[in-house]
């Protein structure tokens, strides 16, 4: 720390700071203004939990390191270095006014911390630069100029800092000081104009991230409404929410979403990073407003399985998936619906179920619900209309478990499709019809149990977006898990083979249930092992988002997970969702080599029922 700065220097410094900060604020405000035009409001509920989440994900880099260990850790070095440098930077500018913030001794002591960190930052930024510019993983996309600049800036900053701590001649020290200062100023100018805005926005975005997934806005359709009401509602469909707009500006272009996307991994064109986020950035800036959702690539939008892996993995808290937004525009505004889905929607409208069926042998066999029964057993179209005939046995295995545990249950005679396919495919009108019908049927029901996570998600969370829901919904694995934990049923470890579990994306991510199925399965198997990508990081089976009904089977979205199961060498794969069950059944057979025996596909209820110890202790009537 040498010599006083001249008046001219201080003047230049002041002007510089002013210009740079103005530029920063201007660009930041330009984007925030657009965010504030978005629909709905930013959430502040559960404040403490939100703060804690920011600390975990931002400060402790939970998803950044979790998703990609080494690059994440290297980024962490740079990040923590930045934090440590905060005080140093303020002090640096204060020095420019000949008014250092720290005393000599504080400065020296603090440098014992900062110098090692600056080395770590250099290591971090060097490895990351190598990865980005030499190794060039696909997810990072095209060469990024701003990343190059930032790499240069950070390196210069670290080097000039270290030099500044050494004994230098006054001139060299001064030049070094100015170099550091100009680099910081350039950095500040660059930040809001590039993806490096995440420096500011990521913690904020993580704070505002919705707790409920999915968080798509409900589409309230009033058929009796006026034409003006309808027009207003339809034009609203092109508008993003505040949260969504904030997401677009927070995106750090890391491509984790692309890496996990099952449609992309199955050979489709869908690239969540670009199609759902970055394609919308320039339109937002150009329009200065949020009504840009029609810029989403339509073909990519139809490929999405709505599994939310992209949202789960995003390190800056983005709700990436936007298939709902583009599909609803295509269906409600444009009337452009792929043929196979037109048939599906017609079936739902005409017969109240996805298959256009008029009778269900399974439904006829099961007891009917009356208010004295403990649970309403919700079947769902898949089970009810035997979309995979083997699954019927799984439903009956579950009822057997309920019988043994002495739990009473009944089904709805007039159960219509929960509406999940219509909801996910953008036909909110058909969804409204089904939802209203079902809500009426469920008016005196208190507890619902179902083996279909898609139904559970809709009955519990999606319906609640439109009207108050008076019943609680459980997935059958949750009921079974509880029965086992409470000792109300006894299960033996009868399965000796290698057993694994495929987490259904709707159950693990959207309903946040990963433990109950494991309780049930591990109680019945000696040799349980986890698949790669399990729990909340599960890889979707490919049937979600209405894709079960998709005709053209170009691409292998439906096979990627099946391939993983085959490679895992499991004897049995257990699933907790009828669609996953069906997909495993279809996918495993052609992929299993001839030399290996067939991999068994079972539902959680199958595993438990097969290993149930049926005591005479409880002979209650269901």
């Amino acid at each position: 720390m040498e010599g006083a700065f001249s008046f001219v220097e201080k003047l230049v410094l002041t002007i510089g700071i002013f210009v740079v900060l103005s530029s920063f604020i201007f660009e930041l405000w330009r984007r925030l203004r657009i965010v504030f035009k978005g629909r709905d409001s930013l959430p502040f509920d559960r404040f403490g939990t939100r703060i804690w989440r920011v600390i975990k994900e931002s400060f402790f880099h939970e998803k950044i390191i979790g998703g990609r260990f080494w690059p994440g850790l290297m980024h962490g070095l740079v990040f923590w270095g930045f934090i440590v440098f905060g005080l140093v930077t303020l002090d640096h500018f204060a020095i420019g006014y000949d008014h250092p913030l720290m005393s000599d001794s504080t400065h020296k002591n603090y440098s014992y911390i900062v110098i090692p960190f600056s080395i770590l930052v250099l290591i971090g930024i060097t490895t990351l630069t190598y990865r980005r510019f030499i190794t060039r993983p696909k997810a990072l996309g095209e060469i990024s100029l701003t990343s190059g600049l930032v790499a240069v800036f950070i390196t210069v900053l670290m080097v000039t800092y270290l030099l500044g701590e050494m004994k230098l001649s006054p001139l060299v020290w001064r030049v070094n000081w100015w170099l550091h200062t100009i680099t910081i100023m350039a950095f500040i100018v660059l930040i809001p104009r590039s993806k490096h805005l995440h420096l500011v926005l990521a913690p904020i975005n993580i704070f505002f991230k919705p707790f409920e997934q999915e968080s798509h806005t409900p589409v309230d359709i009033n058929l009796e409404g006026s034409e003006d009401e309808l027009d207003a509602m339809l034009s609203d469909l092109t508008r993003m929410t505040k949260n969504q707009a904030l997401d677009i500006f927070s995106c750090v272009e890391c491509g984790r979403c692309l890496d996990v996307c099952p449609a992309s991994r199955g050979g489709g064109i869908l690239d969540p990073k670009n199609h759902f986020i970055l394609d919308l950035r320039q339109p937002l800036l150009d329009r200065g407003d949020v009504d840009v959702l029609s810029n989403i690539n339509v073909e990519a939008g139809w490929e999405c399985t709505t599994c939310l892996a992209c949202t789960e993995v995003c390190p800056v808290g983005n709700q990436v998936e936007k298939s709902d937004e583009i599909r609803r525009l295509e269906v409600l505004v444009e009337g452009k619906v792929p043929q196979e889905y037109q048939k599906l929607f017609m079936n739902l409208q005409e017969s109240g179920n996805t298959e256009g069926a008029t009778s269900s042998p399974l439904a006829e066999r099961l007891p009917k619900y009356t208010p004295d029964k403990e649970y309403l057993l919700w079947l769902g179209c898949f089970a009810r209309y035997e979309m995979d005939p083997n699954f019927t046995k799984s439903v009956e295995n579950f009822t057997k478990i309920l019988d043994v545990a002495g739990i009473s249950y009944g089904i709805l005679e007039n159960e219509h499709c929960s509406g999940d396919p219509a909801n996910r495919l953008g036909d909110k009108l058909t969804y409204t019809m089904l939802r209203e019908h079902n809500m009426e049927q469920l008016s005196d029901v208190k507890k619902v149990v179902t083996h279909c996570p898609h139904c559970a998600l809709n009955l519990e969370k999606e319906y609640a977006k439109y009207a108050e829901v008076n019943y609680k919904v459980e997935h059958h694995s949750q009921v079974i898990g509880q029965l086992i934990n409470e000792g109300r049923i006894v299960v033996r470890k009868g399965n000796k083979g290698k057993v694994t579990y495929h987490d259904p994306c709707n159950l693990s991510r959207m309903l946040d249930e990963v433990d109950a199925p494991r309780t049930a399965i591990q109680a019945t198997s000696e040799n349980f092992f986890e698949l790669e990508e399990s729990g909340r990081n599960t890889l979707c089976c490919g049937a979600g988002g209405g894709l079960w009904w998709k005709k053209e089977t170009t691409g292998r979205t439906h096979l990627v997970r099946a391939e993983q199961v085959v490679e895992s060498d499991a004897d049995t794969v257990v699933t907790g969702c009828n669609f996953c069950y069906g997909m495993m059944n279809q996918g495993l057979k052609p992929l299993t080599p001839e030399t290996r025996s067939e991999i068994q596909v079972k539902d959680i209820a199958d595993m438990v029922a097969e290993n149930l110890v049926e005591n005479a202790k409880d002979s209650s009537v269901s």
């Binding site: 058929l223 309808l230 269906v331 009337g335 043929q339 017609m346 005409e350 017969s351």
Partner: protein, 253 residues
């Protein structure tokens, strides 16, 4: 360009078809109805021509009891401008001469440039109404169109022929064309279309008096002799019996 599209409401592919006790028809109260598939394609083709032309009118015409208003509304929701509903009960009605006569009466003052209809209905499947109507109204006709091109007072259609062959035919207007499924991608009614359809005109008219020239004596389930014939013997014997079945029973050789 004024285009009429004949649409029919028929039982859906998965609908139950319970036969009435007198075997004269199916019990309509138990049937799930939809728009006839090839009519849907015909409608889309007409709407497409209107859009490409920039102006014109697409009028939907349909014959049947009050329940058919559902498919009429569907057609209006997809973009047809107005509709004509010849209201009459139609159990066991199979005669295309009678049907076409009703339409000829209803449409005679409209001066359509084109009449489109599906090549046949998924219920009785006579496949004649569109051609007969065209003939009755003095129009040129063509059937099983797989593509259309309108221009210069003519319409060119790509007729489907046997075994993967096609033929382009040029017709002077006015013309009546029957449309084959698959030639385009039918649209789904947009929400705005559905709401707007409520306000579009459906002119309900009385049918004229027309005698039927062919009638349905009875309708019945074919003898499901799905007694699977198991063919046995040595490989050579089985092959021989298969060839025999192909030639003499199934008649594909």
């Amino acid at each position: 360009m004024k285009i009429a599209v004949l649409v029919k409401q028929v039982p859906g592919a998965e609908s139950p078809l319970p036969i009435l006790a007198d075997q004269k028809w199916v019990d309509e109260s138990a049937v799930a109805y939809v728009m006839n598939e090839s009519d849907n394609y015909a409608l889309e083709e007409a709407l497409h021509i209107k859009e490409v032309n920039g102006d014109g009118e697409v009028v939907v015409a349909s014959l049947g009891p009050s329940r058919i208003q559902k498919v009429i509304r569907e057609a209006l929701a997809k973009g047809a401008d107005r509709a004509i509903h010849i209201e009459m009960e139609t159990p066991g009605a199979i005669d295309p001469l009678a049907t076409a006569s009703h339409f000829a009466q209803a449409l005679k003052d409209e001066n359509f440039d084109l009449i489109f209809s599906g090549l046949q209905s998924d219920d009785v499947g006579m496949g004649q109404t569109g051609v007969i109507l065209g003939e009755m109204m003095g129009m040129a006709t063509a059937s099983l169109a797989m593509a259309t091109e309108v221009g210069d007072g003519k319409i060119k259609v790509k007729r489907e022929l046997e075994a993967g062959w096609f033929q382009w035919v040029s017709l002077t207007l006015p013309a009546s064309i029957t449309i084959q499924s698959g030639l385009n991608t039918p649209r789904y009614p947009s929400l705005k279309g559905i709401m707007g359809a409520k306000r579009k005109e459906i002119k309900v008219i009385e049918p004229s008096d027309n005698d039927s020239m062919q009638s349905l004596e009875k309708i019945y389930v074919p003898q499901s002799d799905k007694q699977t014939v198991m063919i046995e013997g040595s490989v050579d014997q089985m092959v021989e019996k298969l060839i025999d079945a192909f030639r003499n029973d199934i008649k594909v050789l």
